[in-house]
Amino acid sequence: MEEITAETFQIEDKAELIDQMMTKYGQEILQLAYSYVNSKEVAEDLTQDIFLKCYNSLHTFKGKSKLRTWLWQIAINHCKDYLKSWYKKNVIDPKTENVFDKGQNDNVEQTVIQKDEDDKLVMEIMKLPVKYREVIYLFYFEELTIKELATLIGNNQNTIKTRLKRSKELLKKKLEDNLNGR
């Protein structure tokens, strides 16, 4: 992924910079948010908040990290804050409720027909607790390195490795259970 460099950062018009960032990173931030909240609507709302936050904190960006890393940190923190928030815990959004089984709602047949292997894997990943889900997502989907993960999530590299290993064990077990019809 090509980086927006410090040079482009000199642009005076903040709104224009944000626009460029949205062009470049909008889609991945939306997907990242989705990987945390598992709902299209909430992910879109959070993406809005994230770019707004980014706009308001641009002056704090010191150029120590890459702009993209910085944006991702904001995004990850924001998603986690949302998951911890009172709102999330106390208000059940009818739209998110059935999101795991959206396919089933859309089409009854799909509940009967065995789900595609890929589908199952993704579904199980989305059911993992956040701390396991995020490492799987960032490592395998975004193909980030352990080091990058450590920076983004704010843990040391060994913790990340352990978590990855644990996540895979959990997933494997879930998938085996599925096969055995449990």
Binding site: D19, G26, I29, L30, Q48, D118, F141, E143, L171, K172
Partner: protein, 135 residues
């Protein structure tokens, strides 16, 4: 397991992410929110200048802002003082300390001119706020 996970990018694009799209609509919504927020910031800056037509302490100012229904600085008074400081640095406000150690602020001639400009027309409000914030 490892292989299947290595393939995750592909499977997720196919299953979960095909419904996700960072649309123009979403982009526009974000721009709109930024704009709206900036507008309200602008009116707050101008309200501060207006309220400082007479000498006031920062504390008095927070009370007056609250009574105008401006909640921008609620629980974040520090921000107000940062703002007052930069206005002062830029010469839009005058200040002095009284014997109790409280700092009083008042609009300067320069600030008044600026305020008048902004009251003349809406379009200029933008420029004025830009001026206020620039060093």
């Amino acid at each position: 397991m490892e292989d299947r996970l290595k393939n995750l990018r592909h499977s997720m694009d196919k299953t979960k992410f095909n419904q996700l799209n960072f649309s123009d609509q979403l982009r526009k919504k974000i721009h709109k929110r930024i704009e709206k927020q900036n507008e309200s910031k602008e009116s707050i800056y101008l309200a501060v200048l207006q309220l400082l037509a007479n000498k006031k302490t920062g504390y008095d100012l927070t009370k007056l802002l609250r009574s105008r229904g401006i909640q921008f600085f609620e629980e974040d008074e520090g921000n107000l003082f940062t703002m007052l400081h930069s206005f002062e640095q830029n010469g839009y406000l005058l200040s002095n300390w009284d014997e109790n150690g409280a700092k009083h602020y008042q609009i300067s001639r320069r600030g008044k001119n600026l305020l008048q400009q902004s009251e003349k027309n809406e379009m200029q409000k933008r420029l004025v706020v830009k001026q206020l914030l620039e060093r």
